[in-house]
Symmetry: C2
Subunit: 396 residues, 2 copies
């Protein structure tokens, strides 16, 4: 007599989780140093030293009742102010604390936005672009809207605008983008963002209602040389920016992030309350106090993210030199090369012969590709190359 | 173009929040020592000293990548095992870690249970008993079910069984109880729990489907002399226990709790996955790792809760001696006396003349009563008595 939807899904195992568990089993046999587990996007660099220091300072300076007490639903004003000012400095915005809602990570942030801009069960649509983070399907469905997926432009992983324009319709309430992108590593360039904005401005007028961009940006700080990540609200007013400190500070276990919107967004005067109302519906009772206090002090800090640049350089060059087809990642800690046969799962199975654990792209809405999460040691990335070499030889 | 439901509600201010803000404004005029703010249920005692010590030990002993890394969706196995074993010791259960889902506090726990035992939009009903925590209305509605409220038995704040039996029907999927109760402070005695179990056993047979008890127990550890809180799963198999460490450890800002179910619960074999599926739908990505590690070590600790007993003794005796009608609180840090006129809001308005800030019972589904949150200093509770004395004199 349990919920039909959840009962039905209990045997739907996550492919990524299955890969991760295979790696553990295999490590028990051949040793973990010999298993190249590229399955999970869990940051491998420690948080910056200042983070632990800040935790200590806060617990010394403030009473435990303050440090562990209830936060307000919107988040601590001082933390939101610090975030607003940081974004103003970095991107020339005019945010104040009133433009920031603290959230339990980016997953909560985007789910809150989905609920805020759609009406449950009225057929509202949210468009996103393949390849995309598989949880989008879950979060959009549970908000009562429909996720519409634009097929990937597999040569660039920018936007396939022809397909996008075909799918826009009066039911479109939001467009969900994720740049730098999980799983492709692609960064939407300025031309892409400008064209996206231009199309949406026109469609807003045509449909007579606002279409929000929901910009999911947990990888904003992990950007490689030669690339830059345009700040979307500078190009399109109706943007809700969803951020997480999971990757920038290497604290995915703390579940902290935010939604930011400018005063130029449609319905700006009620946006904060609408977002907070959606969070409340999902039973969120504020974001842990201690880490809000930590973020206030560490708002411009990051972990040492340089390892991802090193790993990307080695892996991308290595793969391309061997003959793999791979769009150069502009950020994140993922590469998304083409599989060497049409069935990416079969390709991943062959890769396991060399203890390379990769994730098929099918779950990301992009068959024929595989995700390589290179948030691991540079030594391991380096040592994996000879395995990829052996793998490609099988196909030659 | 924002969600209709949230846009409509932006001006629905929380009465409790309004009281709290009034208190702050008033404190600026007469000094905070002269405002008797009994509005908010925020624990005033510090967490036990061992809590900060444990945070320190964990951050010293484990690498930051472990301490701040992604937890598994169900929670850390060692933490869940420690909780299971503690409940086994205390209540003679046979839980293992497989019977525990970690959640972001009790609000998340009950919301997850609502989704797990009902089907969205199919008219499923969840019954609860007045007086009740107002957020139940929000959480049940957003799960897509209907909250059905049994009127209060205002002489005892036990269960009004006649009314309850009338409301049970084939659409009833769960019964939500909260004992010790917010706002009444009442503790359901063993006879109440036994009769509730007996009725539900019969109705399960009659209707041919399971009816779960969802037992919301954040106040389980705050129990006064002469009272005891039966452990519901000992009396009724189909019980989902929802717990929070917010009150027992005085860490409401950390948002940590759990759902526990026994192997005897209907569909026990898939329950953990169903609960985790519901949590995932709500975009919960696990519970912060650091505090899961803390709970593993502090599972049998509590803050010094004795102040609540002291405050209750002074306040309850004081009020009753003056002539107020009040059911003796068996636990929590709330008393819920009758207002001295039928309109509780008008009574609260009069109380403000004496700088007593009370919350009308209407929002708790129990008009004609007021909630007094006595999670404040004993001195303040003591000094409030002469104000209550003056207030009752107005009505004599």
């Amino acid at each position: 007599m349990l919920s039909k939807v959840y009962s039905k899904n209990v045997n739907n195992r996550s492919v990524i989780r299955e890969c991760f568990e295979y790696s553990k089993q295999r490590a028990a046999v051949v040793g973990s140093e010999n298993v190249f587990d590229f399955s999970i996007g869990n940051p491998n660099v420690p948080p910056p030293a200042i983070l632990s220091k800040t935790v200590e300072e806060i617990t010394e300076k403030f009473s435990p009742v303050e440090v562990h007490g209830y936060p307000s639903a919107e988040g601590i004003p001082a933390t939101r102010k610090a975030i607003a000012e940081s974004l103003n400095r970095r991107f020339g915005m005019s945010y104040s604390e009133k433009n920031i809602l603290m959230t339990n990570g980016a997953a909560a942030a985007i789910s809150i936005c989905f609920r805020a801009v759609t009406d449950f069960g009225e057929g509202d649509e949210i468009i996103t672009f393949a390849p995309f983070f598989p949880e989008y399907t879950v979060f959009v469905r549970s908000s009562g809207a429909k996720l519409v997926v634009v097929p990937a432009d597999i040569d660039t992983f920018q936007i396939n605008f022809d397909e996008f324009e075909k799918l826009l319709n009066p039911k479109t309430k939001a467009v969900l983008i994720n740049t730098p992108n999980n799983p492709s590593g692609a960064v939407y360039n300025e031309a892409t963002i400008m064209r996206l904005a231009e199309i949406l401005e026109a469609k807003q007028k045509e449909f007579g209602h606002s279409i929000y961009i929901i910009s999911d940006e947990p990888y904003r700080e992990i950007v490689f040389g030669g690339f830059s990540v345009p700040y979307v609200p500078k190009y399109y007013k109706n943007t809700l920016v969803c951020y997480s400190y999971s990757k920038s500070l290497s604290i995915p276990g703390e579940r902290i992030g935010y939604v930011a919107f400018s005063d130029d967004v449609e319905d700006a005067d009620i946006m904060l309350k609408v977002l907070a109302g959606a969070a409340r519906d999902m039973s969120y009772v504020g974001v842990p106090t201690l880490f809000q206090m930590v973020i206030e002090k560490c708002v411009d800090e990051t972990a040492d993210l340089s390892v991802y640049q090193k790993n990307k350089d080695i892996l991308y060059k290595g793969l391309v030199d061997m003959g793999y087809h791979c769009v150069e990642p502009g950020g994140t800690f993922y590469a998304f090369p083409r599989a060497l046969e049409p069935d990416a799962a079969a390709f991943c199975e062959k890769a396991r012969k060399y203890d390379l654990v990769l994730v098929p792209g099918d779950g990301f809405g992009c068959p024929g590709h595989v995700r390589i999460a290179f948030c691991t040691s540079t030594d391991k990335v380096q040592r994996s190359l000879e395995r990829f070499e052996k793998l490609i030889k099988e196909y030659k």
